[in-house]
């Protein structure tokens, strides 16, 4: 993994910008930013497996969707608070990640990809058929409850308040995921991507380590799912279908799995492209697919990889100019 070029100063500037953003853009755009933030968490959780762990999963929507359904059902049936509901959505994602992980992390390559896909379809079919709990294809609609904080009631139905709520969860989640890459466990994930066998022969239990990483990825996917369902005040099988599973792969790939913030770029880019193109073109998915093909062919490390290589070339050119 390339060293992140982001400094603390840059991070502070970005967070400050996000804090004042509601003053600068319209409510419609603000909703778009909320979507970007939620998908950023989802894509970053996916990149723990894809970019950092070297595992190509086609079933990451299972944990996103499972977290979403859990959050919605708990809030609707048991009237738990929103933060608790989302947290439990994350834990549900982790639980499912661990349960499926026991089987999938034994495998690599094509077998891994196919089994994750199979498990995703298993959860999808369950959500579709178990109507009494999940509402089938109709899904479940609910109201985003207000937030009670020390006697204060915060109206989360207002876009502005909701935006700040999502911002806090996002900054916290991304912070956790980033911190994780700097810890021994995060470094081990890279080691296993680079050479799993060597890791075993220096004393790492790579099966258990992969399982732990897979569980953590499930947790953050569940958080993202809970947030997304709370945002739309609705959960349906589209949260869990194959499109969702390939969307997160596309986001991560387009942004680039080789850098930490690459998937965030991908999540923002794809959200923006979908919004722009769907209002202009009826068949926007064709353009999206074309773009994906171009990137796979000419920028296999995604937009962030493209940026890095252009910058490297630029730096080399500058050095060449000063020398002559």
């Amino acid at each position: 993994m390339h060293r992140s070029r982001f400094t603390w100063l840059q991070i502070v500037v970005v967070i400050l910008l996000l804090l004042v953003l509601p003053k600068l853009i319209s409510e419609y755009r603000l909703n778009l930013v909320i979507t970007m933030m939620i998908y950023s968490i989802f894509a970053l959780s996916y990149n723990m497996l894809f970019g950092q762990g070297g595992l190509l999963s086609f079933g990451h929507a299972a944990y996103f969707g499972f977290g979403a359904y859990t959050t919605v059902i708990l809030i609707k049936q048991l009237e738990v608070s929103l933060p608790l509901g989302i947290m439990l959505g994350g834990l549900a994602g982790a639980f499912l990640g661990c349960a499926f992980g026991v089987f999938v992390v034994r495998l690599r390559g094509v077998a891994f990809a196919l089994l994750t896909l199979a498990f995703n379809q298993l959860i999808y079919v369950t959500a579709e058929k178990w109507r009494s709990v999940t509402g089938g294809e109709d899904g479940i609609a609910f109201m985003r409850p207000n937030l009670f904080l020390g006697g204060w009631e915060i109206d989360l139905w207002a876009t502005l308040n909701w935006y700040y709520f999502v911002l806090i969860v996002t900054v916290f989640s991304i912070g956790c995921l980033w911190y994780l890459t700097l810890t021994p466990l995060g470094r081990l994930n890279l080691c296993m991507r680079e050479n799993e066998e060597r890791a075993r022969f220096i004393g790492y239990n790579t099966y258990a380590s992969r399982l732990l990483i897979y569980t953590l990825a499930g947790f953050f996917a569940g958080i993202a799912g809970g947030l997304a369902a709370s945002f739309q005040e609705f959960v349906t099988t589209t949260f869990i279908n194959l499109d969702k599973a390939t969307d997160v792969l596309m986001m991560t790939f387009i942004g680039g799995g080789g850098t930490f913030f690459g998937p965030v770029i991908g999540a923002c880019a794809l959200t923006l492209i979908n919004d722009l193109l769907s209002s202009w073109l009826e068949r926007w998915a064709i353009v999206q697919g074309g773009l994906f093909i171009l990137l796979v062919l000419y920028a296999p490390n995604g937009l962030s990889g493209l940026y890095m290589s252009i910058r490297e070339r630029w730096d080399a050119q500058k050095r060449g100019n000063t020398r002559s």
Partner: protein
């Protein structure tokens, strides 16, 4: 030689791959501090023997004891944690990570810091210091920031041995550490192995007789999956069966 000083003890080991017996009735022991070289023609089963000890394969028959505990059938990571560390014939490193991180990953494992997320790696001064020490020992400290995959072949072989050493094993197993190296590089790496493995048990597979005779105090000849002869270097040099099977009757390779 009493049994308590035996670090590694192997009796009647067998391994067959779909009916092909690669290792048959192999017995061998390594004592504390012994420097034991394994020689033998290509395909004799030397690497398979290493794979059996380190848990990559399980024996078809026979047991392997390390410090009196049975290790045959254990997983590679368990065997490593008991104090056996190996290098590979084909360079086996973490190519996309820096030289520093290659070594540090082994240091973490040695210290039992495997899943910790209480602290960032950059703030763990003792770990980073130990990594620096190993890098100095293998002579790669000036290249610590480079990607391991970008090193030249000789440096990659040194790194391979460095990773093996960094888990601080009781027994070090090196599988042809000088394979594919120039005479100059070989001399350097042998001096490095000699320096870094002092006082530890060493089990080394090697084709270069000069290396074998300069490093080892015991030599075992493996031929068709079994030990043909075992003893001090002088005995092996003069052993008629060994000459015939391996050294090629006077002619040196």
């Amino acid at each position: 030689m009493n049994t308590t000083s035996k670090l590694l003890d192997i009796h009647g080991l067998y391994k067959d791959f779909r009916g092909v017996e690669v290792i048959k009735d192999l017995s061998l022991s390594v004592c504390q501090g012994e420097r034991h070289a394994i020689i033998g023609p290509n395909g004799a089963g030397k690497t398979t023997f290493f794979n059996l000890i380190t848990g990559r394969y399980t024996p078809s028959k026979g047991d392997i004891y390390f410090e009196g505990r049975k290790i045959s059938g254990m997983t590679p990571h368990r065997i490593n944690r008991m104090g056996i560390s190996r290098s590979f014939q084909i360079t086996n490193i973490f190519p996309g990570m820096t030289v520093f991180e290659n070594i540090r990953s082994a240091i973490f494992s040695k210290k039992g810091i495997r899943w910790s997320f209480r602290q960032r790696v950059s703030t763990m001064n003792d770990v980073n210091q130990e990594t620096e020490d190993i890098l100095k020992l293998i002579g790669l400290d000036s290249q610590h920031h480079l990607l391991a995959g970008s090193l030249d072949y000789g440096a990659q072989r040194a790194l391979e041995i460095g990773i093996t050493l960094a888990t601080d094993p009781k027994m070090i197993m090196l599988d042809e550490p000088t394979a594919g190296m120039s005479i100059e590089e070989t001399r350097e790496i042998v001096a490095m192995i000699d320096r870094t493995t002092q006082g530890k048990a060493l089990l080394i597979i090697e084709h270069d007789m000069e290396v074998v005779f300069s490093l080892a105090d015991t030599i075992s000849v493996i031929h068709y999956g079994t030990v043909l002869a075992s003893g001090p270097p002088e005995d092996i040099r003069n052993d008629a069966t060994v000459k015939e099977a391996y050294l090629g009757e006077g002619s040196t390779c």
